[in-house]
């Protein structure tokens, strides 16, 4: 037994991880979610704003992190749309712009009453990272004279009176790295006191916690927090609760539970091999 496990081909580990992820996906296993303090803080930051507030949503991630971040990005879109907030979309990553398109498609298909230019607008990607943030805190038109459709901001009803992002009631940042939440905190949230919430990858989340509650109103860390956020939205909005597309993060918690349990099992097994080996004088 010891020798078999000690010399275990790593392909068996790969296979077990493959099964741990794929079986719950195929079985469509969904678990109930308990809404944590952080998810509640983020939910409240959007929910407590008066209907029709201005919200800037910056998607600073790409397809590599789509599996982890898109469900929460879509949840932000649905929550803002259900509240009737005005949504200003942008991206600091070149491949963040197509991610924004997915949210725009969600609005167009699920909220047909919302009108482009009156309820939501999209700005294209601009190079520069934090310099883009610094610029739009002072002068939005200096960076985005046109929207993504090539229309002047002065001709778009929801942008014509916006001078800079200090006119926003909330910044929602979905981030997979730099430039991302850290830069939004440094160059927008802190110097201008703009309320900001973040949805970020699990790797980034520990670095964001020190910014709560002064510089960040809340953080959603990875898919687990996204699932809790979905649960918080579902509890208030029955239409979203009935929409199977709006349960993506919750659906991914099944594979996460089995995969994490497998990881624990592998760690215990690996340590058992280590201790037996040490007892035998092999380690």
């Amino acid at each position: 037994m010891y020798n078999t496990l000690k010399n275990l081909d790593r392909r068996w580990v790969f296979l077990s991880m493959f099964l741990a992820v794929s079986i719950p996906i195929l079985a469509k296993t969904v678990f109930p979610e308990v809404v944590s303090k952080q998810a509640k803080l983020v939910f409240d930051a959007i929910e407590d704003l008066p209907d029709g507030s201005n919200i800037l949503l910056s998607y600073d991630f790409d397809p590599a992190s789509q599996g982890e971040l898109l469900p929460m990005a879509q949840a932000f879109t649905r929550h803002c749309s259900a509240k009737g907030h005005k949504q200003y979309y942008m991206a600091l990553w070149p491949l963040g712009s197509p991610m924004v398109d997915l949210s725009v498609e969600t609005i167009e298909s699920e909220y047909p009453d919302m009108v482009y230019g009156e309820d939501f607008v999209k700005f294209d990607y601009k190079a520069g990272g934090e310099a883009v943030i610094r610029m739009i805190t002072q002068d939005l038109r200096g960076m985005f004279p046109l929207d993504s459709k090539g229309v002047s901001l002065d001709k778009i009803p929801m942008t014509k009176n916006i001078k800079n992002i200090q006119d926003m009631d909330l910044i929602v940042n979905v981030s997979a790295g730099d430039p991302g939440t850290k830069q939004w905190v440094q160059f927008a949230a802190t110097p201008f006191g703009i309320t900001t919430v973040s949805g970020c990858t699990g790797v980034q989340a520990p670095q964001m916690y020190p910014y709560i509650p002064e510089q960040l109103a809340g953080v959603l860390g990875a898919i687990k927090a996204a699932a809790e956020y979905e649960a918080a939205i579902d509890a208030v909005y029955p239409d979203i609760n009935d929409n199977p597309k709006a349960q993506e993060a919750k659906r991914r918690m099944g594979p996460q539970l089995v995969a994490h349990s497998l990881m624990i099992g592998l760690i215990i097994l690996g340590n058992w091999i280590f201790y037996v080996g040490r007892k035998r004088g092999e380690a």
């Binding site: 991880m17 960076m143 994490h260 760690i267 340590n271």
Partner: protein, 231 residues
Amino acid sequence: MKRFVPLVIAIVAGFVLLIANFIPYAEGWGLTAQEWFNILAVGAMVLGGGNLIKLQLMKISSKKAGWGYAAVTVVCFFAAIFIGMGKFGVHPNELYPNYAWSGYYLEEGSGMWWIYQHMIVPLTSTMFAMLAFYVATAAFRAFRAKNTEATLLLVTAGIVLLGRTYAGVWLFEGWLPDWLLWLRFDNLTVWIMDVPNTAGTRAITIGIALGVVATSLRILLGVDRSYLGQD
């Protein structure tokens, strides 16, 4: 001259941005400097692309190990530029119907859209998803409780791994008295993130910030010139 001019530009731009933060009159100077930075950032992308191609071509010409991958990189690089800039399959923007290139470069059905949907999305997603397999083997082979610190790390990781799933609640359902609910893994995870993690990260962040201030000052005063490279 080759080092003096960039040095002066860096010092002037640095001081302008610094002053713009403290003196309202100088705010406009800061904005101008940022506009220049954004223009330079676009130029830097071209420079980066040029550097990438130079290195790959050198690898191909010297037939270094893995030169075939370099060839694939070069072909893909120029193909993406050609298809992207040519906007093949993109219809003109309805506001500017007379300008053939005015449409959205990722319009559904266009060449760039095809590259994005059928190459970039599956390739990058696959690369990221592969992490799950490598982390699993690393957990099995390398995550050992060799000493007290490693054991603490291991136990914490175990609690967080389970606390980030429904197992963190389910394992304690029905038998844990209310006054011990804080022991539930999901609650312990919140505590770990809120207290030890935040304290540690805050200390590291403050340390980094002090380091950044010191380095920035050295650059602004022209003491540190390492960013100019060697000549």
